[in-house]
């Protein structure tokens, strides 16, 4: 089991995230509007929980100093022997909301490995699926969000139809 991650929910992070999904809803950026709304505070957008990647010190999909990076610099990849696999793609994502996450929450995120399975596909060869469950608990130990994601590693790039 991976170490727990600590995800502080911050208003500026919510603002940046809402901009990135092109959502201009005032509930994500305007404290005065949010306080007068039914929810009563700024809330995190429904898919925000996955931004927990920002708080994983060893996240493999973030460039870090002194760690070879698989993206391009001088060359198309910084690795000497890039893996023939194209890395992981996201196949499924499911969230259950027990309450709305809001700025000021400090969530502890526990990661549990789920099932793994394989399937053959015409468009990408052998597909290796793996499931990950993440439980987001608040400062009082209450469950806020449960996330179940399924990642897939493809044998070759997905053919475009």
């Amino acid at each position: 089991m991976a170490d727990d991650l600590i995800m502080p929910i911050e208003a500026s992070h919510i603002l940046m995230f809402a901009r990135a999904i092109g959502d201009d809803n005032a509930i994500y950026r305007d404290d005065v509007h949010a306080r007068q709304s039914e929810v009563g505070h700024i809330v995190a957008p429904p898919t925000f929980a996955r931004a927990v990647a920002q708080f994983d010190p060893d996240y493999h999909l973030r460039w870090r100093t002194n760690v070879p990076w698989f993206g391009s610099g001088k060359n198309p990849t910084g690795l000497d022997n890039p893996s023939p696999s194209t890395g992981g793609l996201h196949a499924e994502q499911h969230f259950e909301y027990h309450r709305q996450a809001k700025p000021g929450d400090v969530l502890t995120v526990t990661t549990i490995k789920g099932k793994i399975w394989e399937k053959m596909s015409k468009r990408a060869g052998k597909l290796s699926f793996s499931e990950t469950i993440q439980e987001y608990r608040d400062q009082n130990g209450e469950l806020v969000i449960t996330s179940r994601s399924v990642g897939v590693k493809t044998e070759r790039p997905v053919e475009q139809s």
Partner: protein, 140 residues
């Protein structure tokens, strides 16, 4: 305005264009906000020459985030109880996506009312890129 169970019918539909002509800049913004810097989504050189794709493509979670924007516009803020998707096709720069929710059930559970929705997001060619489902709390 939140939805009301008494005014909803099975088969009701709501749809929205959630992105028009998706830009590479938006992919960079999504990488920065989400923390997913996989070069497949922001690094054309890597995506073409190493990964073997026609170029960069959108994070699955961006497609889900765009679908979620339609969803919260429909059911209201802070009303979702469940939201799940499958990513069925990749989304590329230049794509225009339309997300649609269809009411499949309206139910009451311990004095609270809920709507269950089926979700689909399609690109400009009518190809489905996201399918899914969601549940939300609604007014009586």
């Amino acid at each position: 305005m939140p939805l009301s169970a008494s005014k909803l019918n099975v088969g009701d539909k709501y749809e929205e264009v959630v992105v028009d002509d998706l830009t590479r800049t938006q992919l960079v913004m999504y990488a920065g906000a989400s923390g997913d810097y996989n070069p497949l989504h922001t690094d054309d050189l890597y995506s073409k020459e190493i990964a073997g794709y026609p170029g960069v493509f959108a994070h699955g979670m961006l497609s889900m985030g765009l679908t979620g924007k339609m969803l919260t516009n429909y059911v209201g803020d802070g009303r979702l109880t469940k939201f799940g998707v499958r990513f069925t096709n990749q989304v590329w720069p230049g794509d225009t996506l339309t997300s649609k929710a269809t009411v499949i059930e309206i139910r009451e559970e311990s004095d609270e009312h809920f709507v269950d929705l089926m979700l689909e997001t399609m690109n400009q060619d009518g190809k489905t890129v996201v399918t899914g489902s969601a549940s939300a709390r609604v007014d009586p």
